[in-house]
């Protein structure tokens, strides 16, 4: 597993050179944006059940057959598995966001996910839709464009508008999962 710092180190080691001023520019930005990154991570961890439950409900509302007998979310045991997977994906996205590098998400979540879903008969299109909704909800909470409670009043980064870049980084991690399942 790598973070933004060790990723830079591994890249430099392949060239056999130390990391100089030019290489450190992006890392200094990572350090400067640390508070935003922490807030964005909190935006996920404090809203996990809400994000996952909304995404799965949204997916079911668009395909009501899923909860009928014979549907993939019937009986509730399978619906519960679906909610659990949503939370697992969110957890790895939160790790990747904190690290500033997708390797933990790739190695421990995405690798083999599609094969597992195919083997278990999970419909990939519906899984992708649920992840898309999670992405939209997460970005909305981070940038405070959601309805309801706003995240950042009074804590580190001050406002959601400042977290736009971090939110699009988070969106890119969701996109990685979507791409892997598509």
């Amino acid at each position: 597993m790598l973070d933004a710092f060790s990723r830079a180190v591994v890249t430099a080691d392949s060239k056999g050179a130390p990391l100089g001023r030019a290489d450190l520019v992006s890392l200094r930005k990572y350090v400067a944006d640390a508070n935003k990154r922490i807030d964005a991570t909190l935006a996920i961890t404090q809203n996990v059940s809400c994000i996952a439950a909304d995404a799965v409900s949204g997916m079911v509302c668009e395909n009501t057959g899923l909860t009928q007998p014979g549907g993939h979310c019937y009986p509730t045991r399978r619906m519960a598995a679906c909610l659990r997977d949503g939370e697992i994906i969110l957890r790895y996205v939160s790790y990747a966001l904190l690290a500033g590098d997708p390797s933990v998400l790739d190695d421990r979540c995405i690798n083999g996910l599609k094969e597992t879903y195919l083997a278990l008969g999970v419909p990939l299109a519906n899984a992708v839709r649920a992840i898309e909704i999670m992405k939209i909800a997460t970005v909305a909470i981070m940038t405070e464009t959601n309805t309801g409670r706003k995240m950042f009043e009074g804590i580190n980064s001050g406002s959601g508008a400042d977290c736009k870049d971090i939110a699009s980084e988070a969106a890119s991690y969701f996109d990685r999962v979507i791409d892997a399942l598509s």
Binding site: L2, V9, V10, R21, L98, A99
Partner: protein, 155 residues
């Protein structure tokens, strides 16, 4: 690769939990020290050749070691300094542990390397760091603690 952040994530993942506030606090602690570390890494990268040659001239200057080994020793000191530069960037001893110290004892024994010369060179570099001319006090502290870590591993 072990670093402040990956250590926290590994332990969170092992118990299947989201990063907690205390996880985030410890990550934040490493971010707070990061600017000194990066300053130190930058200075080291800019001066790596000078540090190497000055320390080698000092160690091999008094003719107590076989001069034929000077080039090889210089290559190794340069290598170790590069790994220290990586450690300063990651904020942990991961690069030194994985690429420098793992297997080091076996190599030194097999090649009959003069580790005392290495230690002398690294000690010279540690003692010659110019504060605040080359780097700030905090940056020098980070740099020196890694040099000490390596010296202890060689000793």
């Amino acid at each position: 690769m072990k670093s402040a952040v990956t250590t926290v994530i590994s332990s969170a993942d092992a118990s299947g939990r989201f990063p907690t506030l205390s996880d985030i606090e410890s990550v934040k602690g490493s971010f707070d020290r990061a600017s000194a570390r990066l300053e130190s890494a930058e200075t080291l990268a800019a001066n790596i050749d000078r540090f190497t040659s000055e320390s080698l001239d000092y160690v091999y200057g008094n003719n107590s070691y076989d001069q034929a080994n000077k080039d090889k020793c210089s290559r190794d000191i340069n290598h170790y300094l590069r790994l220290i530069n990586y450690c300063l960037v990651t904020g942990g001893t991961g690069p030194l542990d994985e690429w420098g110290i793992a297997g080091m004892r076996e190599v030194i024994r097999a090649q009959q390397l003069p580790t005392v010369a290495y230690i002398e060179a690294l000690t010279f570099i540690r003692d010659k760091v110019n504060v605040p001319g080359e780097m700030s006090q905090q940056a020098a502290t980070e740099f020196k603690s890694l040099l000490d870590y390596l010296i202890n591993a060689l000793a």
